[in-house]
Symmetry: C2
Subunit: 437 residues, 2 copies
């Protein structure tokens, strides 16, 4: 279609939660602006919902349908916005839509983490767009900068706080000194945590986003199962206190890194875990439900993107940006880049990743303990950066911070410490990120 040919771009919206409602509202409210930006009017052809009976004052009842499968194949639909969530149903619907020549905008990170490859293949064959800026870090532009702005650079590392629920909980624990359970309950009361918080607090959500980010950053296929994952449910008030003593704060990080193996071959590490971050690091001051992503590239250096990572309006903003671009491509021809996996870098196991460790252990209060403990580190060539002895008697503790070493060596060291008589228990093991050494 040429620039002058004006027609209407038909939009189908699947799913009517917070984000869907905001998308429909903005489509109606900003219609003339969006038309000017697209080069053609956008018109909602239908809104697929599960329950037709539910009252929705902001959406004309004639638009509602419970037959999503028919909606996405309608001739007068050009772009499908998928906001259902889950995996199986949206996977089928998006696949069908793409096969029928519709461009698709989705915020579904769980789906994308495992099926971007399948869906991008269909989109490429059909010459349509598959956009998903809203899937990672809500309103913050991260996907498009990584895919397009940094298309001529070599990304070395992406590290981000991309889950608002866990960041809210960790921030609140650090600020108030409350324990995990009561802070989680409070987060639920305030609407920051879902009734079943597993996907958030055990890091599954952050791992899906890490998989998406790693795939794009390193032009390789990375799925959720490739991401090493630890959640935040074992973090204690003691950990927060120790972190503060070390001038650090605890954050759940999604880290994607290009690392070399012993032969110098490049591999991808993707991992999610709570880590100590120095207070001087830009990610340390990202609090509450905010998100931030730090990208390190060979030529660009370190970039940071910061903003609201969740919520109806911010997520809708990202969805609408994708929708305008997909609609614009329908009008003017062409399409945006899809996933590119030409580099096909293998995944590095967590054991091969070099990190620093913070280890807190209860020890017997007697001479020689420090020497025995230090010996276990030395045996595995793990160099100790600092040791702090805290408490006395029954409460005697050792807090060790190591230099960088392979995760396998660190983890073997911790196993060995657990076997020592002098160590009553290793109460906490966390990684330390965002520092040299």
């Amino acid at each position: 279609m040429t620039d002058d040919a004006r027609r209407t771009i038909g939009v189908a919206v699947l799913g009517m939660g917070n984000v869907g409602a905001e998308v429909v509202r903005i489509l109606q409210q900003s219609a003339s602006d969006l038309e000017a930006r697209v080069g053609a009017p956008l018109e909602i052809r239908g809104v697929a919902v599960r329950d037709l009976g539910k009252a929705r004052s902001w959406c004309s009842p004639s638009l509602l349908t419970d037959d999503a499968a028919s909606l996405v194949t309608r001739d007068d639909v050009d772009v499908v916005v998928e906001l259902i969530g889950g995996i199986d149903l949206p996977r089928t619907l998006i696949g069908t839509a793409l096969e029928h020549g519709k461009s698709v905008v989705t915020a579904n990170k769980a789906l994308l983490a495992d099926y971007t490859g399948e869906l991008a293949t269909i989109a490429a064959r059909a010459h349509v767009d598959l956009y998903f800026e809203a899937a990672v870090a809500g309103a913050i532009p991260v996907i498009r900068p990584l895919m397009q702005s940094l298309a001529g650079d070599t990304v070395q590392r992406v590290a981000g706080i991309v889950n608002g629920t866990t960041n809210f909980i960790l921030s609140a624990m650090a600020e108030n000194g409350d324990d995990y359970a009561s802070t989680l309950a409070e987060a639920g009361r305030l609407g920051y945590a879902e009734a079943d918080p597993t996907a958030d607090v055990e890091g599954y959500d952050a791992a899906a986003k890490a998989a998406i980010l790693a795939s794009i950053a390193f032009h390789s296929r990375v799925t959720a199962g490739d991401v090493y994952r630890e959640g935040i449910s074992t973090i204690t008030t003691d950990d927060h206190e120790s972190a503060a003593t070390l001038d650090c704060t605890i954050k759940l990080l999604s880290i994607c890194e290009r690392i070399d193996d012993s032969m110098g071959r490049q591999r991808v590490s993707a991992r999610v875990y709570p880590a100590l971050v120095p207070n001087s690091h830009p990610l340390a001051s990202v609090n509450g439900a905010f998100n931030a992503v730090v990208v390190e590239a060979e030529n660009a250096g370190r970039l940071m993107f910061y903003g609201q990572g969740a919520g109806g309006s911010p997520t809708a903003s990202a969805v609408l940006g994708d929708l305008v671009m997909a609609a614009r491509n329908k009008v003017h021809g062409g399409r945006g880049p899809l996933e590119s996996t030409y580099a096909s870098l293998p995944i590095a196991p967590i054991g091969d990743v070099n990190t620093r460790y913070y280890v807190s252990m209860k020890v017997a209060d007697r001479p020689g303990v420090l020497s025995t403990v230090a010996g276990e580190f030395a045996k595995r060539r793990v160099s100790i950066a600092t040791v702090r002895q805290a408490g006395a008697g029954d409460d005697a503790r050792l807090i060790v911070v190591t230099h960088r070493a392979p995760d396998s060596a660190l983890s073997e060291t911790v196993d060995a410490l657990n076997d020592l008589d002098a160590v009553l228990s290793v109460s906490s093991v966390l990684r330390l990120e965002g520092t040299d050494g």
Copy 2:
């Protein structure tokens, strides 16, 4: 051209400064990565330089030419990268290249600030791309997020530190307590300021970038002459001390804002001036040669983009990203969005802008002075937030911080203060940004 048709994309590079050299180096060094991302190999057809005699070990002599005009019209050139600087010559060369169906990537903010309209019109007619991510904030993706990611949102405000030279000088003054002249000299020695620093220190560079940002953010034509501008050469060590007392720091800000007139009609304010920024504001901690841009949009909320705003490699990263996207469009068809000026919002004069003022004045050390001074503010309905009296005798000073008021009222108040017997001199007037009230 279909996705399967493989051909070579010819690239012409104009200008061989720091950035040009980096672009050529990366094109050669990352050739196979770039080919995979574009979908076709990129090949440098020629590099236009002023002086053919100058030795350039990193570039094959057979590529060099001093005939840029012929290079940009060669049949085997698909994309032209303009890094010459200046206005007249690149304006002609880019215009010619676009007319000949070449896509253009440029980092030339001075040119774009005045001629984006002219060049975008030619690009639209020729169905080619005009990309310029590197023109604002170096490696930091700002143009693409504003133009594409936020295409479905309504931007209210863009405020940024987009000039590295002035930020280096202001950061150094704040840290070392040195005066402006000696800090500027030091910046020159370290390579952060040019021999003639006027474009940087008087805010012309920041104003050109403000014009570009405002045009994109508000879908309206804004040129450099529309931007209200003040430089940093009058900032004193006293100002920095006063700022510190107010828990603020002084930054040269480029601000683009959507404001209503008295009838509720929207207008654009674009302005550049040194301002006090509260230390708690994210822009306050952007130091040295770093850049940052804060975008506030109706639905996305507040976003921040941070990174290196200048330098050969970071700027080359942004240029290469644009080059890959332009080349990709040549291979796959379609093109990115060009400037859109459909909104055509008028420019608001600085007098209509609501800001807060910081006014420092030398006053006679006698009773009643504060009352007289406060009276002048009150007469013009400018509400005072805080007053601090400092010094005594010949060094008696009043430091007033106002609430938000129209700039015209504030500026009339300062004129009136200058006419008072009780005020020996108004030594400094700065705006206060990044706060409510």
